[in-house]
């Protein structure tokens, strides 16, 4: 017996729709679960006092500083490299074996698991270069990790700048670099910044790399060669060692909010960028 196409369609849509709803429900569940338990603990006091007794009590102030400094350093290193790479790929070369190699390298780097970045950062920055567990080692390792994100996003944004703008610029006697500086970059900027923001997001979320390269000191860092910990690491240690569920939830809520803010910023920037382009 053959089921009429109309019914298979209804059945298919129901199943597919249920899968989608399920996925979205998980997202909502995670957000609600963490925020419901964490928000009551989250307060200005919690954010701006230092932890006491290994984090069993007190706040997360030094961790907040670490969470700002590590991604900041990572972005200071990775953004110029990544943006320059994408400018080179789009503006200064034609498709060739070299560009394919660069793209393949970028794709592979994007797929490398964070534990490998952690191992590498530990052996290279921490041990061989003698930077120790520090903001420097952590920031540089994170920079390696977010480089592909920045390259891909800004490459896309730069490619989206209309070819006609470049033609006009060249026809008025601009060199390639002048064209890039005056026409391409300003027009691709929102997209490029989106990539940078996503890179910041990736750095905030990361745990394995940071534990291996920046250590987990609870003190307020006074130099880039001090060890520190980020909210993700702090949360992991609190939860895993069962030090304080309450503070773990508070940290988790702060972490989720930070991630939400960063990603929503990136999303809205991208959205405006696309809207402007059309």
């Amino acid at each position: 017996m053959r089921i009429p196409p109309k019914y298979t369609q209804i059945a298919a849509i129901t199943i597919l729709g249920a899968a989608t709803v399920f996925t979205v429900a998980i997202l909502i569940f995670i957000l609600v679960f963490v925020l419901e338990k964490g928000l009551p603990i989250l307060s200005l006091n919690f954010l701006f006092t230092s932890p006491a007794d290994m984090g069993r009590s007190g706040g997360i102030f030094p961790i907040l500083i670490g969470t700002v400094l590590l991604p900041l350093l990572a972005i200071i290193v990775a953004a110029p490299l990544g943006i320059a790479t994408s400018v080179y790929l789009v503006e200064f070369t034609n498709e060739s074996r070299i560009t394919r190699l660069i793209r393949f390298g970028t794709d592979c780097l994007a797929g490398v698991p964070s534990i490998i970045f952690g191992l590498f950062g530990f052996i290279f920055f921490v041990t061989i270069l003698g930077m120790g567990w520090s903001i420097m080692s952590g920031g540089l390792s994170l920079a390696f990790m977010i480089l592909p994100t920045i390259i891909r996003t800004s490459e896309e944004a730069i490619r989206a700048v209309p070819k006609a703008y470049r033609e006009v610029s060249f026809s008025l006697g601009a060199s390639r670099w002048q064209t890039v500086r005056k026409v391409v970059i300003p027009n691709a900027l929102p997209g490029v910044v989106t990539g940078v923001v996503l890179g910041i997001g990736r750095s905030i979320e990361e745990t394995a790399v940071v534990i291996f390269t920046a250590g987990s000191s609870l003190l307020i860092p006074t130099s880039v060669f001090d060890s520190t910990r980020t909210m993700a690491v702090h949360f992991y240690i609190l939860a895993r060692e069962g030090l304080s569920m309450e503070n773990a939830y508070g940290t988790a809520a702060a972490l989720i909010i930070a991630v939400l803010i960063v990603n929503l910023t990136a999303y809205f920037m991208m959205h405006r960028f696309i809207a402007k382009r059309n």
Binding site: E167, V168, S171, L172, G173, A174, V183, N187
Partner: protein, 255 residues
Amino acid sequence: MQQEKNIKIDIRHVNIFARDVKILKDLNFEVNSNQILGIIGPAGSGKTTFLRSLNRMNELETGWRIDGQILLDGKDIYDSELDVNSLRKRVGIVFALPVALPMSIYENIVYGLRLSGVSDKKRLDEIVEKSLSAAFLWDEVKDRLSLSGLRLSGGQQQRLCLARVLAMEPDVILLDEPCSGLDPISTTWIEDALTELKKKYTIILVTNNTMQAARVADMTAFFLMGELIEIGLTKQIFTAPVKKETSDYITGRFG
């Protein structure tokens, strides 16, 4: 009528290839100063390719090659010593589709000047007014120079593009079907501007509209399938063409 010849551009044995296909074949002719040369011919006859080879815009595409010589004021523009960017400042181009850069009207006009390092505000202001006036756009935009160029209408944008080229004070102005997307009134504006501008510049106008060539060009060249079929005074081309293809095209038998 004997006209005094003052050769601005000399095209000698020029062949142009795109991915090894010859798209322009053995071009040989001269362009005189302070004249408008109209280039007519059906689509795909190589008019645009030729025009873009005069300021080396073709080089932006891959798989493109030229042999022969193009002399501007007696100097080969493909000489390896010559700086392509200063060539493009001397030979300006207006494209078929108006492209205002996404910046203010004022910044559009001074874009090229700023590249050359001109930063004196007074001088820039002067040039902006002069170029916009010469392109018959000044009166329409003088009160809103800080408005984005993208907010102008198509006809206004095309005059903006013309003014942007004029601001560079080039020797030669190339126009690639500048009125193809414009309404008749905007077209008239552009044509009037060109007639005025030839006193100062050498102008090459590629057009699909043969009547436009008849209206504004001093000399007209007819291209067909990558070959120059005929070049001569506009009047002669339109009233007494030598070649059969020319008269067929002009009378509308093909194209």
